[in-house]
């Protein structure tokens, strides 16, 4: 610690010099002054000490902060470069291990499953026996699967059609580009249309010529599949998918303007609405009759004829229309964001 001025002044030599120069009074003043000052001095020292300590601690604090920041930066840098790589590699290894483990345990299970093609498999129990032996008699459908899904398990199929309809609605919500309130197209719609025109060449003679020939044939085939759903493999879902393929081919060849003449949002909503409500009402009627042991009054017809199977053919038509509309609207929305 450095020697302070007051210490130096209170030395015996300095006091003697002062006494020699200025007499006792000055010395007394000096003493009084010294006494009054001593009450202040320690405080001053303490203050300074405290200030110094504070400065020291703040410096240390700043230093630790800087070090921490450096550490953090290093860690982030590590996480961004090598750490990310290491973690993603670990993730890949774990994912592969999980996949391999799943395959292994499922293969162990497969080895314990009943043999392929075994007649005594537990899956072929009384339920399927009932469907096969009584199906033709009770539903009138030659195709046992059609009789099963549209008669015995019709509730399931109604749910399926509803799932499809809800999916179409969800995609509509997500992807549809609306017009302004006054009917003028928004910027996004103009961009989508120009994009569409750019990627889909119009007036392609080969495409249009083949679409002219193919579209009616595809429609006919789809209608055949739907109408024969109770007689042969097929039904509403497959036939509807085929019809929607024909619609999509037409749309690709002739563009949205021509396709919009017969298929708009209104077509979609009304066809879906009527099909689903017809399905629900028809099944409600037959469930009501079945549960109360009433005669339904719907003739089953001769097995194998086109007009047989009771409600199965109309239900197939309803399902087919829902599926065709849904698939077409999926395509239109994904391509341009609207019809």
């Amino acid at each position: 610690m450095s020697k302070r001025r007051s210490d130096w002044e209170s030395r015996p030599q300095a006091r003697f010099r002062k006494w020699y120069k200025e007499g006792f009074l000055a010395l007394d003043n000096e003493i009084i002054d010294h006494l009054t000052r001593t009450t202040e001095l320690p405080e001053n020292i303490e203050d300074r000490l405290i200030a110094q300590q504070e400065e020291m601690t703040s410096r240390q604090h700043e230093r630790t902060l800087a070090l921490e920041r450096l550490d953090q930066y290093n860690m982030l840098a590590w996480a961004r470069t090598r750490g990310r790589k290491a973690i993603s590699r670990l993730y890949v290894i774990l994912a592969l291990a999980l996949g391999a483990m799943m395959i292994f345990f499922l293969l162990e299970t497969v080895a314990l499953m009943p043999r392929f093609g075994d007649p005594a498999t537990p899956g072929a129990n009384i339920v399927s026996e009932r469907y096969i032996t009584k199906g033709l008699e009770e539903t009138g459908a030659t195709n046992i699967v059609a009789g099963m899904i549209l008669d015995y398990r019709a509730f399931d199929t109604l749910g399926e059609s509803t799932v499809l309809f809800i999916a179409a609605s969800a995609v509509l919500i997500l992807l549809r580009i609306d017009r302004n309130k006054d009917g003028s197209p928004v910027q996004e719609l103009i961009a989508a249309e120009s994009d569409d025109r750019h990627y889909e060449p119009r007036n392609d003679r080969i495409l249009q010529g083949s679409a002219m020939i193919l579209t009616p044939i595809i429609f006919l085939y789809g209608i055949y599949i739907i109408l024969n759903g109770h007689l042969s493999p097929g039904g509403g879902f497959s036939g509807g998918a085929i019809i929607s393929a024909g619609l999509i081919l037409y749309l690709d060849a002739f563009g949205f303007d021509k396709a919009g003449r017969f298929f708009t949002y209104k077509t979609f909503t009304w066809v879906s609405f009527f099909s689903l409500s017809f399905y629900a009402l028809a099944k409600a009627y037959s469930f009501y009759c079945g549960a109360n042991n009433l005669p339904s009054g719907i003739p089953l017809g001769t097995p194998g004829a086109i007009l047989s199977g009771g409600l199965i053919m109309p239900l197939n038509i309803a399902v087919g229309m829902v599926v065709a509309c849904t698939m077409y609207i999926f395509y239109a929305l994904f391509r341009k964001g609207g019809l």
Binding site: G117, Y131, K134, A167, L174, F237, P303
Partner: protein, 124 residues
């Protein structure tokens, strides 16, 4: 075990396909590839169900000449279940692709990690 697996070849293939689809779902960061992986898993389930319904030497469950013995036809139930599965799979594939399009429009990337990071940046 190998002999048993070979006898159930269809189910073995289905299980392996399922595992492949699951691994794709975990490993790929591209959303479209994830959807493809999910569809591969679907296909595996259909194959498994269809193979469960088959009984060797019997025919498809379409009544011919009025024969309605159980010994003549295979099990019709898995066919109906697969039909349901296909429809649901089409529906959710459509919804997921639509969501992917919306995500791409907003973030201009299909990488799920980048999308997550960008979304986190938006929150902060």
């Amino acid at each position: 075990m190998w002999q048993l697996l070979y006898e159930n070849l269809e189910q073995t293939v289905a299980v392996i396909l399922f595992g492949i689809g699951f691994s794709i779902l975990l490993l790929q960061r591209n959303l479209i590839r994830k959807i493809i992986g999910l569809n591969i898993m679907d296909t595996a389930v259909y194959l498994f169900l269809a193979s469960m319904g088959y009984i060797s030497g019997r025919k498809a469950p379409i009544v011919v000449d009025g024969v309605t013995q159980t010994t003549a036809y295979i099990n019709p139930i898995p066919a109906g279940l697969v039909l349901t599965g296909i429809v649901v799979s089409v529906s959710f594939t459509g919804i997921m692709l639509a969501l992917t399009i919306r995500l791409y429009r907003r973030y201009h990337t299909l990488d799920i990690d980048e999308i997550a990071m960008l979304a986190r940046g938006e929150d902060a």
